[in-house]
Symmetry: C2
Subunit: 349 residues, 2 copies
DNA sequence: CTCATCCATTAAAACGTGTTAGCAAATATT
DNA sequence: AATATTTGCTAACACGTTTTAATGGATGAG
């Protein structure tokens, strides 16, 4: 049969099964000559360790779970790429779960991860409730929060300061003269949305203005381009356009831009538009999008490194709440130039 | 301790461990009253089945592997979303591997998947060599090819006809009058690139012209926007621009577009441009991109369904090689209108 | 009404495969 | 020669699954 076990290797190499295991897991404890011989037999026989048996006995696996809110969003894809890269470097496999913003789906995914006895979970939670995550911890599954602050000091998290981000975006709009600013945002229960809104309000206050008057929140159920475009249509139908719109992510901004351009609204002539995340396509869109950049790939990479460090060196591991700072990127959609070498005049729109 | 085993549940429910297993796997074999009682205890105790133990004994897991060539490409992300969706519906977890076009990395990923004893693998292989995949099959791991034709009749695959796609793209360019057409393509060893090129050549022949004269292949090492832009710069430096460019995917096209616009080249005025895949952003880019649409999400979904059907019903399963047909989408970059409601005149560029 | 038979349930025990603690044997060190 | 060190073996073990067997009550024949 296809499947060759550690015992087959042991017999063929003339050693005991335990020795094979040692060659695989603590090679330094086995004499070089034996080690070589065993490795040769392993490759001759095409032996592949049975991960489940290993996990069962050792009590932990070589897999981590990744739960993201929207696999269709390049922001999360970039994170996933960073995670996959870092995990793969250390021989860990990544089990991917897409919660699609649904708490129920997230819960189902976490159950699957618990069953798989993943070593740890990287998660961008759909809400603030720490119960599910604490339940995982109690099961011995480490949790590192991605793009969400840890709710307890003995937990790692990697975030980007969204309050700063919101402030950067709206300060920029205010500087450009906008005094009526729409804030297109996803569910208010999403921390990212709330924080960016908070930052927006602070920017307004800092400019000596009243957030209540200046900011106009528009809440929609999901942060996709489709909803962005829908929001544009509704805004146009209402007949009352703000002078600028801050979108809680770039997908919303892309959709909003599309909706506005289709209706003949000039961007940034009639309305300035700024997004969030600075996904790759922000620079390439019809009117290049101003945005707030986050170190996405790094986010995934560092979160994974923290998680695996916590798993592999539980005693020396120091829990960290890493906070990155976002960065404003000005492009056409708020009056910046398209691109250094871009031939189009600045007043394009 | 946190971990509660099937025996704990058995004790508490006053039955034997085997009965618990039956409740979980063949509920119909256990009396309703007992079943209810067991289920209640399971939820009381917060019992979660140990997937590894289950896999070890049962001989197969509830996971499938997914190996894609570029997780940063929305084409593959859409596929992944379809896979995740279909797998999750049936209670399967997805282990994600990103080969990033590297055969070595792909091999490492497949090894990890083999160790995890995944039930099956969905793969967009980096090359045509069937050896690695046959090795997996011999290990009892089913393989379904994604966006690559099966190399044997007893294997499932889901593809889109790339020859047709190439033909559609280039016929369109020829109809628009182009007689010198660049074909910006990734490594020639990639089936997709080769097929799309073949389709391009056939379109030229069908038009009574000579592919050698009309088509000008430009091969680059990877199909990313960065390389697309680089290709644009090299093309401009060479001083000899074709009348139209067919890019083997949309990322290349986005990069190429960027490079051309930056240099002041008008699209489609000076050069027509068409991409492939019709990723979401194609419609939203600076000059909206004509492209060849593929049913991406479906691709992932159907491949997963085929795989799981093969796993769960090995006797009744009929192997299938599903081939979808691509669809031409004309937009601004080849002289189409930006969008039905778009205010910009057609001669924009 | 009694006893044999059968079906539905549940119990008992073996199993799959790699890991690890504890120990024995072999070799090196002083 | 005695002790320390290295190396490798033995055996127990993790935990859900599955096969086989047992139990009990129901059915039916006599």
């Amino acid at each position: 049969m296809g499947t060759v076990s550690i015992r087959d290797v042991a017999t063929r190499a003339g050693v005991s099964p335990g020795t094979i295991s040692n060659v695989l897991n603590r090679p330094e404890r086995v004499a070089p000559a034996t080690r070589e011989r065993v490795l040769r037999v392993i490759s001759e026989l095409g032996f592949v360790r049975h991960g489940s048996a290993s996990t069962l006995r050792a009590g932990h696996s070589r897999t981590v779970g990744l739960s993201v809110m929207d696999i269709g969003n390049p922001f999360f894809t970039d994170i996933a790429a960073g995670v996959e890269e870092a995990a793969s470097e250390r021989g860990y496999a990544v089990i991917l779960g897409n919660s699609a913003g649904s708490r129920a789906k997230e819960e189902r995914n976490l159950l699957v991860l618990a069953e798989q006895r993943v070593r740890g979970v990287l998660i961008t939670p759909t809400d603030d409730d720490p119960a599910r995550l604490d339940a995982l911890r109690d099961r011995g599954i480490r949790v590192v929060l991605l793009d969400h602050p840890a709710h307890r000091p003995d937990q790692c998290s990697v975030t980007v300061n969204d309050i700063t981000g919101g402030r950067l975006a709206v300060s920029h709009l205010l500087e450009r003269g906008a005094r009526r600013i729409g804030y297109l945002t996803g569910p208010g229960t999403l921390r990212q949305c709330a924080d960016r809104g908070e930052g927006a309000a602070r920017a307004v206050t800092a400019a000596g203005l009243d957030p209540e008057t200046v900011l106009e929140p528009i809440e929609i159920p999901a942060m996709t381009a489709k909803y962005g475009q829908q929001a544009a249509e509704r805004l146009l139908a209402s007949g009352s356009l703000p002078e600028a719109i801050f979108c809680a992510n770039d997908l919303l901004a892309v959709g909003m831009l599309r909706g506005l351009l289709q209706a003949g609204v000039r961007v940034p002539g009639d309305i300035s538009l700024i997004g969030y995340d600075d996904i790759d396509f922000a620079a390439a869109s019809a009117v290049s999008l101003s945005s707030v950049r986050q170190p996405t790939h790094q986010l995934g990479r560092i979160a994974t490194e923290l998680l695996l460090d916590e798993c592999d060196n539980p005693d020396t591991h120091a829990h960290q709440q890493v906070v990155f700072q976002p960065e404003l990127v000005v492009r056409e959609s708020t009056g910046g130039r398209r691109d250094p070498a871009d031939p189009r005049p600045e007043e394009t729109g």
